[in-house]
């Protein structure tokens, strides 16, 4: 341990600590620009200059790089220090007179203008970006170029660096915000996602997530790309982060299974005429929800990409639903949430709202009343499909707007609606892996890809596989009340099986006549459930009726016709054949 005095207070710090770390211990603020926790200090900006008195001799040193020494005395804000800092700020201002953070610092130290000239550069040459890239990210896509007054930060030869992984760490750390990320060759972060607040590799899945703990996104985390960084591991006081952890498979034995694998939203990019992904301010309903969320990137404010609230909004129903090109079915939830959006936009921005629908389906309890209420809020409801969303202005009032081209079938005319924002109410569709899941659980799917229930009225949560139940949108699009009701039903069905303690099986099983069986074992070789065993003593095959599912394959294969499928015996089927052909 090292003992020293800071502004007259005794302090004890571990050996090897810098003066800056020592002052932090006493909660003394020292301005810094080029310093960042976790990156090796470099002493470029000199803003952290303090006075050190060693053996009675005062000298000015940079606190971020200078190690603590036994018995020295430090002054962080005496006259000499302030004077030195003022000069440093003036020198920095001479280079970058317009950088906000420098202007702020200049104001605190009472400086209005630099005596050493005025330039409008954005970079203070602190090197944080290059050090970040090298030390933390581990790729060295940027570095200093040239020397002295000619010095600047650049990628090799000023071209897009091949090593750059587009993590955006340099832009994040730049104290003057002089680095911007551009999307070149899809290597960089998408601006669109940044707007929607998905720019962190460690995040909560969503605000109401259970368990409510952050997770590391493997796709964006730098560590999984360059094998370096691990900054979060160093910083986490509980040492709760472990990047080496891998997915593990656990086998659990259960009696019944409830499948609630949910849905996927329709990707409106394939409907090219709507311009999603190409035109700014054309967003999906889910993105609007994010914008509208109080925990979202805008704190619940409905804003365009420019940061302004929209003056007019068009909400387009049935994107991907009720469309022979995409999905024939109705997604059920869109009409109601679109009406909710109209209400929210009216309430929050007072913007003019257009609802473009095919049919308004407000089918549930209290829904029609909500529809009536929204109709009283001056929402422009147009019955008609949208032909196109474009930014090509034909009239002067359309300049700079998105134009929604549609047919108003109520007045029988084509219309062009200039709006600021377009919200696409996208369809709910079956997940990509629904086929695979269906195969694993041996349950079939309907033509639209959702899981098929045993019977639409008599077995709405059961499936053809005993003990497997389905709930929620994996069975078909549905809203929250319906999902909750179905989930409850599925859970009750599953529990009732366990509660009873016995399982009822179908009476359709196979039976082998012990007197006539020749013991050829053909039935044993064809049985997919290993339900037939060979009785070594009697030399005959015997069906285990608890295992037998009643497919009848053994009955079809038995050369002597003694394996019988109950309720589907050969005699019965032959009689049936005769019967159907009599007429």
């Amino acid at each position: 341990m090292v003992n020293l005095k800071i502004n007259g207070t005794e302090v004890e710090v571990p050996e090897g600590s810098t003066l800056l770390q020592a002052t932090k211990q006493l909660d003394i603020y020292i301005p810094t620009l080029c310093h960042h926790e976790g990156i090796i200090p470099y002493g470029a900006c000199r803003m952290c200059t303090v006075q050190m008195v060693r053996r009675g001799i005062p000298q000015l040193v940079s606190a971020c790089t200078y190690p603590c020494e036994e018995g020295v005395e430090i002054f962080t804000d005496n006259e000499e220090v302030i004077h030195a800092r003022k000069i440093i700020i003036e020198l920095l201002l001479a280079r970058c007179s317009t950088v906000p953070i420098l202007r702020e610092m200049a104001e605190t130290y009472g400086i209005d203008k630099s005596r050493f000239g005025e330039d409008r550069k954005g970079c203070i040459l602190c090197g944080l970006c290059a050090r970040m890239c090298h030390e933390i990210v581990g790729v060295t896509a940027l570095s200093f170029v040239d020397r002295g007054t000619e010095r600047f930060v650049s990628t090799p030869f000023g071209k897009p660096s091949e090593d750059c992984i587009g993590c955006g760490a340099c832009a994040f750390i730049c104290p003057t915000k002089n680095i911007t990320i551009e999307d070149i060759d899809k290597r960089n972060v998408l601006h669109h996602e940044l707007l929607m607040g998905h720019n962190k590799a460690i995040r909560l899945p969503f605000m109401q997530a259970v368990p409510n703990v952050p997770y590391v996104d493997h796709d964006t985390c730098i560590h999984y790309q360059t094998d370096k960084c691990l900054w979060c591991e160093k910083i986490c006081p509980k040492e709760a982060i472990n990047h080496d952890m891998e997915d593990s498979h656990t086998e659990v034995e259960v009696g019944s299974i409830v499948l609630a694998t949910g849905f996927k939203t329709f990707d409106p990019k394939v409907v090219v005429e709507l311009g999603y992904g190409k035109l700014p301010n054309v967003i999906t309903s889910l993105e609007f929800e994010k914008l509208n969320s109080a925990a979202g990137p805008t704190g619940g404010e409905i804003l365009m990409e420019s940061g302004e609230p929209p003056k007019s909004v068009a909400i387009l129903h049935c994107i991907g639903s009720r469309d022979h090109n995409y999905h024939d079915y109705c997604s059920r939830v869109c009409c109601m949430y679109s009406l909710k959006f109209a209400h929210l936009v009216r309430e929050k921005t007072h913007a003019h709202v257009y609802e473009l629908y095919i049919d308004m389906r407000s089918f549930g309890k209290g829904y029609e009343e909500f529809y009536d209420r929204v109709m009283e809020e001056d929402v422009d409801v147009i019955r008609g499909r949208v032909a196109e969303v474009t930014d090509f202005a034909e009239l002067p009032e359309e300049t700079g707007k998105l134009i929604v081209v549609c047919e108003d079938t109520m007045i029988g005319a084509f219309r062009r609606l200039p709006v600021d924002m377009v919200i696409l109410s996208i369809a709910l569709e079956a997940r990509d892996d629904a086929a695979e899941i269906g195969r694993i659980f041996n349950i079939s799917r309907t033509a639209d890809g959702f899981f098929k229930e045993l019977h639409p009225k008599l077995g709405p949560v059961s499936t053809a596989t005993a003990g497997v139940f389905i709930a929620g949108c994996c069975q078909g699009p549905k809203d929250i009340p319906d999902t909750v009701a179905q989930g409850g039903s599925a859970a009750a069905n599953a529990i009732s099986l366990a509660d009873k303690g016995v399982v009822e099986i179908e009476p359709i099983t196979s039976f082998i006549d012990p007197d006539k069986c020749a013991g050829c074992k053909v039935c044993i070789s064809v049985c997919p459930f290993t339900a037939i065993e060979f009785d070594e003593e009697k030399k005959i095959s015997v069906v285990n009726e608890a295992l037998c599912q009643g497919c009848g394959t053994c009955a079809a294969a038995c050369p002597s016709g003694v394996a019988k499928s109950r309720h589907f015996t050969t005699e019965q089927i032959l009689a049936e054949i005769e019967g159907v052909l009599k007429v």
């Binding site: 195969r439 009848g552 052909l581």
Partner: protein, 151 residues
């Protein structure tokens, strides 16, 4: 071959896929030829080739066997067995002078009501073109004539 010949068809449909698919075609109010008489079996693997021969002998002009798509069998692998059994039967039928087109194997899932209706229409047309099979009960003479007529 008279124009007003209405083929008599027998269908052996598996309970989980084709029979449910037929149900779907019905509940969806799809229109298709009324010529097929459906017989439900739990699995296409239950279909003993005897049934098909019996149906033909009893006066059916064609037989449809409907099962699940591969990998979808409710009993895991019943349809694979059918897939192997039917071609052997077809070879046999050929030797008896019965056109193999009269026995058709189709995989129709529970959601393919449309496919079911299409298959029935198509199959009915095929058999209509082939004409009556002309087999009746084995103890009656026309068996030999029928075989000769259909060559």
């Amino acid at each position: 071959m008279s124009e007003d010949f209405e083929p008599k068809l027998v269908g052996f449909l598996c309970n989980w896929c084709t029979y449910t698919g037929a149900d779907l075609a019905g509940t969806s109010r799809m229109k298709y030829a009324p010529n097929l008489r459906a017989i439900r079996v739990m699995c296409s693997g239950r279909i003993d080739p005897t049934f098909i021969v019996k149906a033909l002998v009893e006066g059916a002009d064609g037989v449809l066997i409907g099962g699940c798509h591969f990998g979808d069998c409710h009993y895991q692998e019943g349809n694979y067995k059918t897939m192997r059994r039917i071609p052997i039967l077809l070879k046999l039928l050929k030797q008896f002078g019965i056109e193999p087109e009269r026995v058709r194997l189709e995989w129709i899932s529970a959601s393919e009501g449309r496919k079911y209706a299409d298959v029935i229409n198509e199959f009915t047309e095929t058999i209509r073109k082939l004409g009556p099979l002309g087999l009746t009960k084995p103890n009656v003479e026309p068996l030999a004539e029928g075989v000769a007529a259909n060559g």
